[in-house]
Symmetry: C2
Subunit: 192 residues, 2 copies
DNA sequence: AACTGAACCCTAGCACTGCTAGACAAACGA
DNA sequence: TCGTTTGTCTAGCAGTGCTAGGGTTCAGTT
């Protein structure tokens, strides 16, 4: 038994190593640079080893996405916890969200831009994704306003943040006035 | 002279054929299916011909994007022209924008998701892109509200629409309540 | 009318991609 | 000690974007 357990542990370790290495490589050089050959070389195994852990590159992206979702949930919750009013909580959430996207562009891409083979907004959505949305809902639900479902409000506000994050990073929006745009969004959308 | 002119005309025709074929192929089977081999086969030339017109695949995507920008500007302007109040104009604009994104997903990707090698929000931004933004600004500038720069408001509103468009199409948002989310955005963001 | 030079396009190939079949070695249980 | 199983690697496939070099064709000149 003990031998099997050791092997399982080693396998789990290697799987974490793969995900961490893929993430690191993606953050350093972009997802295009994350090829199975380079990734295999970095973890010091041959390519086929990757396929004994994941069905393919898509699943590796998905694993990075799930890791990122958990971290984002933590970041959002810790930011909102420090705020003392609903209005402040929303502002803190917005900045925490955009900050996460800016600091972890590859992870953000894995989550919302690339195909990681994950199901979103469904019954079988993985728990980390549901939890990340829940973290948003906790702070945004209380400023939805009368007659607006908290879920719908959260979706809309989130989409707005997502638009700002992606357009800014893709060079479609000048980065200078980022804070003003966030302020506008918070002021107008959130009902105090 | 006449011979040269004919050749130039034929070259221009072929270039249009390349762009149109790339766009068609992308809309039918997605941008991943637009390979230089397939594209060359469809236009009934060899691959190197593509490179006598464009520096590479990226530039072909850029050409499709510019074509799409012009069409989007037309779509937005014709939608807003039919409305009779600022509030209605904004609502019409939002629906026209999302409608365009939903009906031309590949073109929308070329414009805002993929790398077409184009400059955005700069001096040397191509005219069609500037004009598309101008079309948004015309209708959105008048509902920015006091103390909010029309350009900044337009950027923010546009980013929100972009977030809705991309998240919905990528399966990150359920498509059912799309209209309600748009209504929420228009009601809250636009100052009547 | 024949020739020359340039414009044009195609074949073939490079280095890379994700992914997999089959050989091989190591470690295990009997 | 001997199979058997488990695990890993080498080698290869079909496909990608892109390019070098060789012909072929045709316009302009003699």
């Amino acid at each position: 038994m003990s031998v099997q357990e050791r092997k399982q542990r080693e396998r789990a370790d290697r799987e974490r190593l793969i995900v961490a290495t893929a993430r690191q490589l993606a953050e350093q050089q972009g997802w295009d640079a994350v090829t199975t050959r380079r990734l295999a070389e970095r973890i010091e195994y041959s390519q086929p080893v990757l396929y004994s852990h994941f069905k393919g590159k898509r699943e590796i992206i998905g694993a990075v996405a799930l890791e990122g979702a958990s971290e984002m949930a933590v970041a959002v919750r810790s930011a909102t916890a420090a705020a003392h009013s609903p209005r402040q909580r929303v502002a803190a959430l917005a900045h925490a969200y955009l900050d996460f996207a800016a600091r972890n562009p590859a992870v953000y891409d894995a989550l919302f831009q690339l195909d990681g083979g994950l199901a979103y907004a469904r019954e079988d959505t993985p728990q980390p994704l549901k939890d990340a949305f829940a973290a948003l809902l906790e702070a945004l639900g209380e400023v939805a306003g009368d007659g607006i479902a908290p879920g719908l409000f959260t979706e809309t506000f989130w989409a707005s943040l997502h638009g700002l994050a992606t357009l800014t990073r893709a060079g479609r929006l000048p980065p200078e006035d980022a804070d003003q745009r966030v302020a506008l969004l918070v002021d107008r959308l959130a009902v105090a």
